[in-house]
Structures are given as structure tokens and as C-alpha cells.
Symmetry: C2
Subunit: 367 residues, 2 copies
């Protein structure tokens, strides 16, 4: 454990936990007869990507053209951009499609036509289905629009229909927990299989992916491909959903303590919304949870400190609430750890990560 | 106006508006007999800093040691780090204190003692006073703690007491608007002047700074130094507080449209929490405001589009709510603008900015 050189907010990655999380999810996908196409938007790291490759993963998902380019430059040659195709990036899309197996996401007839005209190389296409998240995609029940779009893709010169893709983003806020998620997953699967049978394309991939369902459900058969992403690090939000234990969370933000206020049961850390982003879990207007407090140990970090949580953020300041008697354990100049609420967004905000031995894991440079 | 080369989320800065905002605030500080020490945490740009210097500003405020180093490297030689001193960064603090006039913020007796021991050069010190924001600092009414800390600083070898500093962060949520802010500002000023008289140091600086009060109040005499920061760009939050008009907001995020859903009165843009951060204004659980929609024009951007707002964010997606009849004005491949809710955090999340002619304004590299 090498933390003595840390002087400002630094995202630490516990390599052992990450590798265990990857191994477990890969085995689970295999047990459910699904191809594993993990989403790399969480770690955004060539180094972590390498850990997937070492156990045989050969295709991935990303959420932007820039990220696709980053991982293509790191040797990945089968990449799905799980984001509605951005026509303004056609030049970069063409450049990528010329050197790797690139897959795009489409939901719009006019976009399919235009993309086909602008492409200089073949790309695989997944049709985006909205299975209840309400973010984007063709509603699962709108069979006609799916068929119409599939026909358009099939008559295209540069597009090859590869699959139907959905992301159950609403499972992050699903009342009823595991039971409800299992039931809804089964309903979605049945409808997607029905859609597939209407499309009469045997090799069409039903692509599924969200960390809650892939983590929680014992049986998740019926999808051909899994694309979870967050599971690589997990976070406090996934713990609250029930996707992981606190011991599975593989990242902690190391933050210097800059003030301790026992009189109001608070301590001030260097670590704010520019490091964590501003996402939180709210119980009500008076309670916001941005992360849990941990102490660093010889080999990593402790269990979460009971009664302590990151409760407020401004640009560079974080306010940790903690019982008065525990305040006395901390003083300015100490380094504490925070398990973040949302690891994907935190990785992106902080921009770089290091392992427990002080080795740089990634220095994202998407910009 | 040069936007035809933009293909992904890009933060645009309207130079004219910025320069007008700077000029106005500088004149107002002068009219109130205060030294202008603007906070540079909002723009974090050497180029924008230059615009301040051109009109005679020669001292600045920042919120981290890294930012102090960045601006020292850009020629600034009188910098206040308005963040409780982080003892872990002593090496960088010493390096800076050796080459510029550096000012640190202290609220803790033990920290003052330790800092004095660790310093190799003189630094100026401001005592942090909590005037009601409840984030950090010695409570304004705790005269004894202030006097004790001042005495400690005065017997130090490497610390020189320069001022008393407060930031009325609570004005961002102040019921009663301008009238209440005026009243509370006056109360704080009276108490700080009383504190100063107890300290018997004629040249002690009373340092004040928040964009709402500095923007809204007609008379803000009684403070020796102003440190507002956000006013350089303003944003939708400041507009809601009443600090600025929508025409004063000097930044807009250019975002590609990737899907339009008239049936649910929404459009999907490439522009998510990794670009805007996750901060929002909430009216209630069912309404979140992340920004307002504008259209680009020949010389900048239009007024905000009535009835349209950025309502949801995920990692890369933004969902704009807008009336069905207006949906038809947009299609995938278009570029729209979003006035962000919080410009400081957005600047930090996106990492770089450009002016309306396509020139790079800043590529922050704090990491």
C-alpha cells in the first residue's frame, strides 16, 4: 500500500477486487450462455481493459466515438458504441470503421439513411429499444417502427443489422428490488424474442446490459450478449440497489483532511464536486449521500466507518458528517478514503486513477 | 461565429460578454472602495486571466494549490488560495511561496503552528470566518478563537496576518432575495469590523466575496477586498438568484442532437454529466433543471427557447424537454446550445473551452 506520496484527491483502485469482479461477471455471462461484451465507460482505462483481455474477452462496449478511438488505439478491434449515432462525428466513425469491427446504435429511420450515405466502410448496427428506461430508443411495443428500421438497414449499402439492444436504466430506481427486476427482465426478454422472430434473422443478437440485473439475478437466460459496465468497480449506489456488497467496491477516493469540527460533527476534506461530480443519493431534502468514509490500512481500506458519510460538496470542499466521538480520530493533514456514490462519473471527473502500489492506472485524455 | 467544426460537446465562451462582466464588476468594486481580487476558479484559464490583467487587475484568488501553480506559471505573482491550507501539499506551497506573494487560509490553531514549522518562506495568512454558510471557518461570533489564532499567527516566524476572510455561500439559498442579502451583508460587515477593531491591526483586510451579493447590492461598502468568481461567466443558477440577466451568461455548451422524440416532447443530445457535471436546480422531485436551450446564430446564440430545458442527464446523454411543436425544428445532426446551471463545475467537467471564433480559451490540466 503506497499512499504516503498522495497530497491531493486521488482515485485508488483495488486491483484484486477489480479482477474478482471481472472474473465473476464473465463466468456468470458464460453460465447464462451469453457473449460477454463489457461496457468500458466506467474505468475508461487501457490498463484495466488489459485485465479483461487476459481472461479472453475480445469485444467491448463504449459510450462515445472518442472512447471507441481510445480503445481501438489500445488494440481492441470489435467495439460497439452504445450511444445513438452522432452524425457530426462521421469522419471519426469512418476512420474507425476502416480499421476495426465497429458497431453503431440507431433508432431513427432518417439517421439510418443518412449514415448509410456518409459511410465509407461497413458497420454493424444494433437497433436501440426502449424497454422502459424512457431515455431513448424505439419503444419495445412499437413493432412497426422496429420492422421499418430493420428493413431500411437491410437495404442499406454500408449497414449490417447485428442486433436489438436495450438498457434497463430504470432498474436503478426499481421498487420491489430483485423480485421485481427478475419479473420485468423476463417480460422484456419475451417481448424482444418475439420481435426477433418477426425479423426472421437467426443470428440477430439480443443485447442486454445493466449492472443491477446482471449482478442480482440468478437466472438471466435468453439474452445473447451482456454489456454491464459499472460492476468492474461497483459503488455505493450499486450497494444500495443490492448489486454488490461493500467489500466488492473496488475504488476509493483518497482525500486530505483540511479541517475537523467536532462541535458540529463534521470534517472538511479536500475533495469536491470537481473530483466526485455532483451525483448523490437522497433520502429526503435533508439527507444527501455522496459517499461513505473508510480508513486506509496496510493493504487497502477498512470497512465503512459507522455513522459517517460524505454529506455535502462544493467545488473543492467535501463535508463529512460523523459522530463527535469519532471526530477526535482525525486531524488536518490526515488522508481518508471515500467510497463514491457513482464510480463511472467519478472516474470521469477526476480524470486519472492509480492502484494501491501507486502505479498509474489511467490518465484519460478524451478531450 | 465558427461552429461548423464542432462535432462533440464543446463549451463556448462569448468573449464580449465576459469582458463586459469583468469590466462591470471591477468598476463596482472600485466604486465601493474595495480592492478587486477576483476568484479564478470559474474560468481556470490563462487566456481569460489575461483579460483581467489588461484592465489592471494584479492579484487573484484560487481554490487549490494546483490552480495557484497554474496561474503563477501564467505570470500572476499575488495569489490567495481561498481553501483551508492542505498540509499534505507543503512542498508545492513552499515552492510557490519562494517565487510569488502567496496567501493561505487558516482556521485552526494546530494547523497554524504546524504550517509555520514546515514553511521555508513567508506567507500571508487570512483567517477563515464562517459568516453563516456553515461550510468551514471559525464562527463569526467566536471572538476568542479568532483572537487566539491571530495571536498564534503573530508570534509565528513564517506567517503574516493579512486579513479576515468570509464567503457567504448561504446567499445562494437565501430566502428574501436582494433585501435579505443586503441586510445580512450589513450585519456580517458590522461584526467583522468589530472583530478587526479587537485585533488592533490597522491594515488588516476584510475580504468578502460571493457573486450574488457583489452583483445584486447597490451599496456594498465596508469590505476592503472583493473576491467574486462566478460573475465572469454567470449561469442559470445566478440568473435564478437574481445576480444577472440571461444576456449576461457568457458560456453555452454546444451539443449535437442525436434523437428527437416529439411523441414524448423530448430530444436527446450528446452532452451528459461528464460534460455538465450533475448539478441541478430542483423545484420538486419531478422537476430538475440542468440548463436552458438556445439556438446558435450568426454572432452567438439566441434568447432561451421558451418552454424548453435540459431535464435529465446520464453519463453521455442529455434529455431536453420541449413543446411538441418545437421538436419539429430539430433533427439528429443539428447542434444546439445549453446555458449551464453552474458554470464553474461545468468548466471543470468539460476541461476545455473555446471562443466563438473557434480559438482555444483553455485546456485545463490540473491533474
Amino acid at each position: 500500500m503506497q499512499i504516503s506520496t498522495i497530497t491531493q484527491p486521488t482515485l485508488l483502485v483495488d486491483t484484486k477486487r477489480v479482477k474478482a469482479n471481472i472474473q465473476r461477471m464473465k463466468a456468470k455471462a458464460a453460465a447464462n450462455h451469453a457473449v460477454f461484451r463489457p461496457h468500458f465507460k466506467t474505468h475508461q482505462s487501457g490498463v484495466v481493459g488489459q485485465w479483461f483481455r487476459q481472461i479472453g474477452v475480445d469485444r467491448i462496449t463504449v459510450s462515445s466515438v472518442s472512447m471507441a478511438k481510445y480503445f481501438a488505439d489500445h488494440g481492441w478491434d470489435d467495439i460497439l458504441i452504445a450511444f445513438p449515432v452522432n452524425l457530426l462525428e462521421i469522419k471519426k466513425i469512418n476512420e474507425l470503421a476502416g480499421r476495426i469491427k465497429l458497431h453503431d446504435l440507431i433508432e431513427d429511420l432518417a439517421v439510418a439513411k443518412q449514415l448509410d450515405k456518409l459511410l465509407e466502410h461497413l458497420v454493424g448496427v444494433y437497433i436501440k429499444i426502449d424497454s422502459g428506461a424512457g431515455r431513448t430508443g424505439i419503444p419495445l411495443d412499437d413493432e412497426n417502427r422496429v420492422l421499418e428500421l430493420a428493413n431500411q438497414i437491410n437495404v442499406s449499402k454500408n449497414l449490417t443489422l447485428k442486433g436489438l439492444l436495450t438498457h434497463a436504466g430504470h432498474f436503478y430506481h426499481q421498487p420491489g428490488g430483485k423480485t421485481a427486476i427478475a419479473e420485468k427482465t423476463q417480460q422484456i426478454n419475451q417481448k424482444m424474442r418475439a420481435l426477433k422472430s418477426k425479423l426472421r434473422q437467426e443470428d440477430l443478437v439480443l443485447s442486454w446490459g445493466d449492472t443491477p440485473s446482471c449482478s442480482m439475478l440468478d437466472n438471466l437466460e435468453g439474452f445473447d450478449e451482456w454489456r454491464p459496465g459499472n460492476f468492474v468497480y461497483y459503488d455505493v449506489m450499486q450497494y444500495h440497489i443490492g448489486s454488490c456488497s461493500l467489500e466488492d467496491i473496488a475504488v476509493a477516493m483518497a482525500c486530505p483532511v483540511v479541517a475537523v469540527h467536532p462541535e458540529c460533527e463534521e470534517m472538511v476534506i479536500y475533495g469536491g464536486s470537481v473530483h466526485f461530480s455532483s451525483e448523490f443519493i437522497a433520502a429526503d431534502d435533508n439527507f444527501r449521500l455522496y459517499g461513505y468514509l473508510v480508513n486506509f490500512t496496510e493493504n487497502g481500506w477498512s470497512e465503512t466507518v459507522a455513522g459517517a458519510w460524505l454529506a455535502r460538496l462544493s467545488q473543492e470542499h467535501g463535508i463529512v458528517k460523523l459522530p463527535k466521538e469519532i471526530c477526535w480520530n482525525y486531524k488536518p493533514g490526515d488522508l481518508i478514503g471515500i467510497l463514491p456514490v457513482h464510480s463511472c462519473i467519478t472516474v470521469s471527473a477526476i480524470g486519472q486513477q492509480q492502484d494501491l502500489d501507486g502505479n498509474l492506472i489511467a490518465k484519460m485524455c478524451i478531450c
